[in-house]
Amino acid sequence: MSTLTDTAPTRSRALSTTTPNPRPFRLVRHSLALAKRSLIKTWRTPEALIDVTLQPVLFLIIFVYVFGGAVAGSTHDYLQFLLPGILAQTIATGAIAIGVNLNTDIAKGIFDRFRSLPIPRSAPLVGAVLGDVVRYVIVTVSTLAIGYVMGFRIDTDPFRAIAGCLLAVLFALCLSWLPVLVSMKVRTAGAVQGVMFALIMPLSFASNVFVGADTLPGWMQAFVDVNPMTHLVASVRGLFLGTPLGNHVWWTLAWCAGFVAVFMPLALRAYRKKI
């Protein structure tokens, strides 16, 4: 009971005329606190991790053993080629879940509570986006693990391999502002899923994920060449296997910056208007 008086100063906050909250980095601290909330929720509902655990496993097994012989002549060669692509594809589709979750979450009272607190309005969204990093790490680990079991080997060194993984996680982190934006704009969680698949599927198939871009017709190659997924896959392939990197890493980073620069402000604006 002796500790109770420690809480007394908070009572006077309302009447103070000084600038509220002089402590720095509020957005960061509040977002991290809210990211922790997302992590706890993920931990409590492990079935929500199916898209980031089972999907890369299924995709790798199906594509490698069904198409491997036909596309690359041997399943091992195709596995080496395909794994970076599958990693990029599943991590991109893994980013869809945040939109679905936010769409259902935001309808609940807890967001009213957040908005009635003296915290930056964007903190709950930033927190949710950051909290999903753990899902992207899980995608990466499960893809590499099943790949290893199937015979995938990294040809470079651990540093470049880790750099490739981090690039993929960063890509998903930045891309996730798009599903966040969509989740603010459409009414149901199902619609978020639908819209996002319609956007992600062309990106992942019209790319170098499954086959080399040089086998595609010219008009499609033009699209493939600017497709952010192409740059990500080429970067991860280079970092995992030692294939030429070119400017792919820079292009990937540029796309990441572009996603954040465009979708984040739009998503935050839509969020403020939504409720």
Binding site: L15, L34, G109, I110
Partner: protein
């Protein structure tokens, strides 16, 4: 356990302010409260205000010090005119009951006052800060308990409270301590480590209210805090509200029950279709809407005529009526009518199986104020509104 909750919170808040408390937190006499602190029976006798902190003795006083002020609030959703010029005023340390049926605009008003929604017209200030321009400042002094529990159901009770403590800058240790305190005072310690989704309705409301008190707010908004709770849980919630107010918080509470407003509020604002149709003390409002009704069912139906005779004598003048088969009712203005009638029935040798005192229902209040029932559709002719 149940009546304990409010009392413990009262004790805690007093301790927070460095005071001793001897205030009974239940059975507060509303009539006396509205008269001012000089005669208030709940005024603590041994309160020693240390360091000039204002204690319950001061904060309970009715002054022109308005903590919640709203003028001409207007809000439109598409074609629905949710608020059409609502004025609200709540002096420091008092409870305003906002009474109205579903869709009257109560929740919209609360959402505007708690900065969740910007008004289309009008202004509102909390502790002098404008809810639109100084929203950040307003958020520092308010606590909001919505109609739907605004806690995270996947988190445990403790995790919820710690999260809000962290967001309110209490620091990690401070948030943890505050969560433990609130869990204790709301009797949730045993359930602290269970996910909120496993809580019963009453527990969820308590957690929700605890969550809105993490930052020790000066102003508390309670949007239909007891809707869906059983009568015992409702009494618990009332005790909590009373103890908050006893310790200086200002409360705006929306409700659909006149009984609740009467039990808690210093003043009642009745709103309907986004307009204030009455504003008065509970006493004043009850005078207008006809006060209470005494209902009696004599054991022997043959006694009905004599029972009616007695009721008419103790009533406020009107003739006793048989409102249901075997049940007589008479309007009364004084609580003493109940004991008076009991004494007279005893003298006359009349046994009764049912004897109760009722406040008018919301429907009756609305019928008196507007000439139509609360649930009637808007498309019917609008009667002239009673001036507030």
């Amino acid at each position: 356990m149940r009546s304990d909750v409010g009392h413990r919170i009262g004790r805690w808040q007093a301790l927070c302010r460095g005071q001793h408390i001897v205030t009974p937190t239940v059975g507060v006499d509303l009539t006396a409260l509205t008269l001012g602190p000089g005669v208030s029976p709940c005024q603590p006798v041994s309160v020693a205000c240390q360091g000039g902190v204002s204690g319950p003795a001061q904060t309970r006083r009715m002054t022109a010090d308005l903590v919640i002020e709203a003028e001409g609030l207007v809000k439109t959703f598409g074609k629905t005119r949710a608020l059409q010029g609502v004025d609200l005023a709540v002096p420091r340390g008092t409870v305003l009951g906002v009474l109205g049926p579903n869709g009257a605009g109560k929740t919209t008003a609360v959402r505007i006052l708690s900065t969740l929604l910007a008004p289309d017209g009008g202004t509102a200030r909390i502790s002098g800060f404008d809810v639109v321009r100084d929203a950040e400042r307003v958020r520092q002094s308010i606590g909001l308990t919505g109609q739907y529990a605004s806690v995270d159901e996947d988190l445990t009770g403790r995790q919820n409270l710690e999260l809000f403590g962290t967001l309110l800058e209490l620091g990690r240790a401070g948030a943890r301590r505050r969560a433990a305190e609130l869990l204790d005072w709301f009797d949730l310690t045993d359930a602290a480590n269970r996910q909120a989704k496993t809580y019963s309705g009453g527990m969820r409301r308590r957690l929700d209210l605890a969550a809105s008190l993490v930052g020790s707010p000066d102003v508390i908004f309670l949007d239909e805090p007891t809707t869906g709770l059983d009568p015992a849980k409702r009494e618990d919630m009332w005790d909590v509200v009373r103890s908050l107010v006893n310790n200086g918080s200002t409360v705006l509470l929306t409700t659909q029950y006149l009984e609740e407003a009467d039990a808690l509020a210093d003043a009642i604002t009745v709103i309907d279709h986004g307009r204030v149709i009455a504003h008065d003390t509970p006493e004043g409002l009850k005078r207008v809407v006809g006060g209470q009704t005494l209902e009696v069912r004599p054991s022997d139906p043959a006694q009905l005529p004599r029972t009616a005779e007695i009721l008419t004598q103790v009533g406020s003048g009107a003739q006793a009526d048989e409102i249901r088969k075997g049940v007589l009712a008479v309007p009364v203005t004084d609580d003493a009518a109940l004991t008076e009638s009991v004494a007279r029935f005893a003298t006359a040798g009349i046994a009764v199986t049912e004897l109760s005192l009722h406040l008018p229902s919301l429907d009756e209040v609305f019928f008196t104020l507007t000439g139509r029932t609360a649930s009637e559709d808007d498309t019917t002719t609008r009667p002239t509104e009673v001036a507030a």
